[in-house]
Symmetry: C3
Subunit: 138 residues, 3 copies
């Protein structure tokens, strides 16, 4: 149950933002093998002065179409994370057409039991458990 | 010193949002034994297209009243986290009256020394220390 | 490649917010030795009711000028984090002139390979690698 935060500047269409969300979700399905409906994505639109980056970082020029992505996900092997980056860059390059230079990704890893969603929980050993339904209805 | 992020869709009252914040804070007091005044909560209101989830996840129908909660907190035993989820679901079910299906929780755990608040700091061994007051006033 | 989230209340000038961002960035350069152009900062402006803290926490009165800072960064020694806090408090006290009482900092630590930025990546051993340019252009 990853939680995705997409940050970008104001002035894009809802379709454009949805394309970014879909590209990332597909990358998580391919690299992390998450289920198709395991989709929890937040998009934050910032004014230019509230989304700060240097024009040039590590010798590469970056532009205002850049997106910052934060993915909170269960611990993953290094190779899976590298694969995820490749899928994200490939997918976003295709639709909506972002340059790799304008993609910034940070992953935050957590323990499997750090998630709760009704009817689906993952226990400390990594197994799914239907804890939710065991709770008394309020 | 947990940091709480509450994400929900636009169109709710300040009272409604405060009730959500209070329900989570009470759950942290009960499950994590945090002090009553250890309250640092951010609420983000999203347009519908900027808060994406599948209508159905793991066979459960979810609606637009859903909330995504992110709790950053010191490392906790698995049982405490499970207890926290139960309190959150129970409290939010009571006030403002959210269904369990519409609650999504993610916890991010950090080391005790990863917090700084003036006059209260927790060192690497987990003890409180009054580091803040030892700093030279700027 | 730290990712910084600055949360504060609405009603400040862009210059004021930039001064906060710069103060934090300088503190990361001094304490964490990050490069000058490794700058990825998001600022979120909240209405008063969407940024909740107690007036008094640990016996200290806090005011509405408070800022909540979240820094996602590679794992750091305890002493470096303590040094970072000191720099942040000193810098923000100088410009734009925040009281230590009104600064709240939380650090989230991640593995070096959890970042991706075109042309700069850090592998699991902590070394820089130019993975980005090795990717096929989409």
């Amino acid at each position: 149950m990853p939680l995705v935060n997409i940050s970008l500047r104001k002035g894009t269409s809802a379709d454009y933002r949805r394309a970014i969300a879909d590209a990332i979700h597909q990358a998580m399905m391919d690299a992390f093998r998450i289920p198709a409906d395991d989709r929890f994505i937040l998009i934050s639109e910032h004014s230019p002065e509230n989304m700060i980056q240097d024009r040039t970082f590590f010798g590469i020029e970056r532009i205002d179409k850049s997106v910052f992505l934060q993915i909170v996900v269960n611990h993953r092997p290094v190779a899976q994370k590298a694969s995820f980056y490749e899928f994200v860059v490939k997918n976003l390059g295709h639709t909506p057409g972002l340059r790799p230079e304008d993609i910034f990704i940070g992953i935050v890893e957590v323990a499997p039991e750090n998630w709760w969603a009704f009817a689906r929980n993952v226990n400390a050993s990594g197994s799914d458990a239907v804890l939710g339904t065991a709770l008394p209805r309020p």
